[in-house]
Amino acid sequence: MVIIKSPAPQVTTRKLTTAKAMVEGISQEMERDSSIFVMGEDVGAYGGIFSSTTGLLEKFGPSRILDTPISETAFMGLATGAAVEGMRPIVELMFVDFFGVCMDQIYNHMAKIHYESGGNVKVPVVLMTAVGGGYSDGAQHSQCLWGTFAHLPGMKVVIPSNPADAKGLMISAIRDDNPVLFMFHKGVMGLPWMAKNPRSIGPVPEEPYEVPIGKASVVRSGSDVTIVTVSLSVHHALDAAEDIAAYGIDCEVIDLRSLVPLDRAAILDSVTKTGRLLVVDEDYLSFGMSGEIAAIIAESDPRLLRAPVVRVAVPDVPIPYARSLEYAVLPTKERIVSAIKEIMG
C-alpha cells in the first residue's frame, strides 16, 4: 500500500467540481439529520448518472440511499408522502425532460399541498434534476425547462452555476420547508466525460454553509449593460463580457441563482445603473424567464431603459441533435457578444 501524504487542506484553496460540492452538501446534511434520504434512478451503486450522489451509498447504506424502479410517478409521490410525515427526502429526476411521466405528482401534489392545506402541511422535498444541452443529446434530453416550473406556484426553483453556490444552495434547499427544485446543468458539473467549463471546478469551503435562496449574485460589475442570466449561460456571459471589454463596453453580469423566489431588486438596481438589459436564457424564448425579466422593468419603470431589451434564448424549437443545429440555437458566447453590440447600437 502506498500512502500519499497531502498537505493539510486549506479552506480558501480547496477546489471541487460542482458535482462533488453538491454531494458534500448532501452528505454533511445527512450526517446531521437522519430524516434525510436520497432516492432516484441509479443514485446508488452508480452514484448518479451526472455524479450527483457519488459515494453516498458507501457512506449511508441502502436504507438511506435508494435506487428506485423506473417509476417516477410512484417515487415522486413517495417523496411527497414521506415529507408530509416529517422526513426530508431528496429525490432525483434523472433528466428534467422526464417530468412528463410524473408531472402530476410534482405540480398537483408536491407543489400544492401546502396551499390546499391552508399552511397546515409542509412538504420539504428537494427534487434535484439535470438540465441543459450542448452535447448532442437531442430534443428529449437537453432542455432546461426552468421556466415551466417557475410558472407553477408552490415550488422554489434553484439553479446553481458553480461549485460553491451548488453546495450552499443544496444545504439551503434541504433545510427549506418547501419543495425545492434543484436544477443542475450537466455542463457545470465538472464531469470527466463531457467538455467542461473551466469554472466548473472552484474553491469550496469545507464546513457546511447556506447560500440564501432568492438572492442573485453580481458576478461581474459593469456600467454599460446588465446581463441577467442563470446556470451555464452565466459562464458564456462572463466570457462574452471579457471579450467585449476590449471594445470599451463594460458589462455587469447577474447570476440569478434562483427563479423562485426571483431577486427583482437586484435586476432593477443594476438596470437603474446601466440603462440597458440583455437577458440570456438557455430555456425556450417565449413565455419564459426572459419575458418575465423584461416585464419587471416594464412594470417598474420603462424609462430606466436607454435601449430596448434584448433576449438571447433558445428560439421556440425543440433542441436539435446535429451539433451545427444545436449550437445555432443555444446561447453561446458569440450570440451574446452580438447581442451586446446590438444593444449598444
Binding site: 424502479p69 410512484a74 408522502g81 410525515e85
Partner: protein, 324 residues
Amino acid sequence: MEDKTRLGLYETMVLSRSFEEAILHDYHADKAPAWDIGAGLIPGEMHLSAGQEPVAAGICAHLGVNDAITATHRPHHLAIAHGVDLKTLAAEIYGRETGFGRGRGGHMHLFDPSTHFSCSGIIAEGYPPALGQAFSFKYHKSTNIAVAVTGEGAANQGAFHESLNLAALWRLPVVFVVEDNDWAISVPKNRSTAIASNADRANSYGIPGERVENNSVEGVWQAAGRAVERARSGGGPSLIEVRTVRLWGHFEGDAQAYRNDMDHLSERDPIPLYAEDLIRDGVLSPEQIDAISVDARAAVEEAIEFAKSSSIPLGSEASRYVFA
C-alpha cells in the same frame, strides 16, 4: 363478530350518510331556478359517496389516528370513518377560514395532519403519497400503516401499477383499496377494464388481492383485518377490491342518463340492508336504529352550523400559504 363492532360499523355509515344528506340539501338549495355550479353556499363540483359507506366503515374500523389514509375526489365517507373533526370538514366544504385548508382546498383537497388523512382530486394519484407515508413509518420502525384508496377506474392508471410494484418491492406497510362502484363517471367497468377483478392485478405483483362482493361492510371489515394485520406485522402490502354502489351521480347535477342499473338501485342501499341484519340478529332494536340516526343528524347539524357561522376567507389573503 362482536355486537359492539357491528354497532360501530353501522354508526359510522349512518354518520357519513347523514352528513352527505345535509351537504346534498345545502348544495342544491340555492342553485335554483337556474342551476349554476359555481353559485351558492357550497360551490363547485360535489362528489358524494352515498352507497360506498361500507368500504370506509369496514377499513377504518381497523385504523387509529396515527395510521395514514389517502382518499379520492369522493372522500367524505373515508374522512368521517377515519375520525376527522366533523366541524372542520364541514367548514372546508363551505369554503370557510375554519376549514382544514382555510378555504384554499375544497372538498376534493382535504388535509388533516392530526389524523394523517388526505385526498386528491386526481385519479389514482393518491396511491404514491401513501407509499411515502408508509415508507416513513417503516423507516422509523413504527407499526403504523398507510391505506391508499381509489376507484376501479383508477386501476387503469400508471400510478396504480407503479405503486403496487414499488410497495411490493420495498415491502411497505400499505393496504391498497379499490372501490369498485361499477362506473367511471359514465363508463362501466366492463368497458374500461380488461379483467373482472383488480384483486388479480395484485397477485401479478406478488401481493395478496382479495375481492369483497355485495358491498358487505362485514366482508370489508374481515378482509381489512387481514390486510391491516399483514401490513402492521411487516408482511408488506395487499389489495382489497370492494364491489360497492354509487347511489347518486358522479357529481351532483349528473343526470345519469347513461345508467342502466337505476331500476333497483335503492334496494342496494347498504344502510337499511345492514339495519335489517342487525335487527334480525338482535343487535339493535328498531328504536335504537332510529336513535342512531337522530344522534348522527344532531352531530351533523352542529358541524354545519359551525361551518355556516365561520368567517369567509378574505380575497386579499388569497396569496397566503403558497410557501411555508
